[in-house]
Amino acid sequence: MARYGMALDYKNCINCKACEVACKEENGVLLGADKHRIWVGVKEIEGEFPLLSIASNTFMPSQCQHCDNAPCEEVCPTHATYYDENGVVRVDSDKCILCSYCMNACPYDARYVDDRTVTVDKCNFCSDTRLARGEVTTACQATCPTKVRIFGDLDDPNSEISQVLREREHFTLKTHLGTKPKLFYLI
């Protein structure tokens, strides 16, 4: 079984939001639902006009970090949140009682309430859609025009993600919390 993760070459991001659109389309997220599943964070340009520091303006895509040590999974009273065989953190909407404990426990604000199922949902690396069909890419990765996203098996030393993580420096978010995110930001 794989242990899926994603590396983000975030400096290539041009904030075109193609990934958000592709994700909504693939996973049936309600239109207009802001920051559901994935989003692009914007760091505004620093400085006063005309002395603007163009380099300070960066875009950082974010989403569920698929923590290896996920607080959302630990606090879920009914095991609605679970690790699947690929290490993907998933929510079983039949078991979710909407206690919102996981929303409070997730340090990355990655979870939201899906208005259709009235349960908590979040990114699941297209496990219900693309991966279930036997494909090996996520919608956001496949659509990104500047190849920001590299999705793959962290346990396979020959996968692109493993190679890139070996070669390039990277960091994870809120590492000090011990959640062991599987989203890596490439420097």
């Binding site: 920051k35 989003w39 964070g41 914007v42 760091k43 505004e44 950082m60 895509p61 974010s62 607080p71 630990e74 606090v75 879920c76 009273p77 009914t78 095991h79 609605a80 039949d94 078991k95 979710c96 009682i97 909407l98 206690c99 919102s100 404990y101 929303m103 409070n104 426990a105 997730c106 340090p107 990355y108 604000d109 979870r111 939201y112 309430v113 009235v118 349960t119 978010l173 809120k174 919390l177 011990g178 959640t179």
Partner: protein, 393 residues
């Protein structure tokens, strides 16, 4: 089956029930209960959209009110145990009323939380068939269920004056209740993401404030019962003792709170210190928690050395307002600091504390729960003899 044989109760005429002796309290209870029902209907139509909670602030007034009720229940259970579990004669007079109170407060708490949890029925099924053993909510819920069962059995034996069995079930109920209640503290203590809540503080603090709440409530119950009359000697004695214990407990609570705030701001740790400073600038902390919940009752006790039990009734009323603020702030403060990773500057919004204010529907259901509690209490005082002392064998 004859219910009388299981639990002795009074046979009531409808007239006794429909013509309560205190019209004002009856009106308060009915209005609040009506609001509860209206709130529930709005919730059933609109779901969580009728509430002020958001993705950033998923827990609101209803969680606070649930905590308010179950803290009350645990507190009354502790207070009641003095007489029937530990066998202190001075406290025997208040046991029945306290244990009855602990049952109705937790029932009211369950009634409120049922409309906050998105799928309460599903919860009962999956709590059993796929338990999340690492979840503090799972333990809290399960233990409170067991606790309620034991408290009901204890109450039945108390009413039958079977003190031996009441003692056994009371002791188990008390222990399970304490475990449940510290787990409720753990629900917050386990939140690594929320640095003001994370840690060992809440589980112990919950037990302490439960004890304090229980004493406030016992004063309210007896203050109401003997309004305008002198207290009977045995009740007065128990209450005076409780007032003295309350003085000590409030002193410990103030000590706890001081150290929580000091360790919170010390070193200026990001997130934690900012949040604590924010709390220290709110009126609900100073006027609600500190003044009403601790200082005023403490001064009343200090001034008379615990003997002014009539004034303590009023002080307890103020104290309960303070306890409400303690619960509300606890829930709100944990969620104050935004978690929004990498979304911080989006749309040029400066990072700010998360806002939340309860919607009207939340208030109707949350405060309406007090109406349920009052009605159950009224029925209890009519149906059961909560005052007779057990005969000693």
């Amino acid at each position: 089956m004859d219910l009388q044989k299981i639990i002795p109760y009074r046979k009531l005429s409808l007239k006794e029930l429909l013509v309560p002796e205190n019209k004002f309290m009856a009106l308060v209870a009915i209005v609040l209960t009506a609001l509860f029902l209206i709130g529930v209907m709005i919730y059933l139509v609109h779901g969580h959209h009728a509430y002020g909670v958001t993705r950033e602030h998923p827990w609101g007034l209803l969680i606070a009110m649930y905590i308010f009720f179950v803290v009350s229940s645990t507190g009354l259970c502790i207070v009641g145990s003095f007489g029937d579990v530990f066998g202190f004669k001075d406290y025997m007079a208040v046991s029945k009323r306290a244990i009855f109170g602990s049952i109705i407060t937790i029932l009211s708490g369950f009634a409120v939380i049922a409309f906050e949890i998105g799928h309460p029925v599903r919860m009962m099924i999956y709590n059993v068939i796929s338990p999340g053993l690492t979840s503090a909510i799972w333990w809290m819920g399960t233990l409170y269920g067991i606790y309620l069962t034991f408290m009901v059995i204890e109450f039945v034996f108390l009413m039958r004056n079977d003190m031996k069995r009441a003692k056994i079930f009371g002791l188990i109920g008390l222990l399970v209740g304490l475990a449940a209640h510290s787990n409720l503290g753990g629900v917050f203590g386990f939140l690594n993401a929320r640095v003001v809540a994370n840690g060992v503080f809440y589980p112990t603090y919950f037990i302490l404030t439960a004890f304090i709440t229980g004493i406030y409530l016992i004063f309210l119950m007896y203050g109401y019962k003997y309004r305008g009359q002198p207290f009977p000697e045995d009740v007065a004695k128990a209450l005076t003792n409780f007032a003295k214990i309350q003085g000590l407990l409030l002193a410990i609570l103030m000590f706890f709170e001081t150290w929580k705030m000091l360790t919170g701001v010390y070193g200026g740790m990001p997130e934690r210190a900012d949040t604590i400073m924010h709390i220290l600038h709110t009126k609900s902390f100073w006027l609600g928690e500190v003044l009403c919940g601790m200082v005023i009752p403490f001064l009343v006790i200090l001034k008379s050395k615990g003997t002014a039990i009539k004034s303590m009734v009023w002080a307890s009323f103020i104290g309960m307002i303070g306890i409400f603020y303690m619960r509300y702030d606890l829930v709100h403060d944990a969620q104050l600091f935004p978690m929004q990773t990498l979304k911080i500057r989006e749309y040029q919004l400066p990072p700010s504390f998360v806002d939340y204010f309860p919607s009207l529907t939340e208030m109707m259901i949350g405060f309406g729960g007090i109406g349920l509690c009052l009605i159950l209490y009224f029925l209890g005082t009519k149906l059961f003899d909560l005052d007779s002392m057990p005969e000693h064998h």
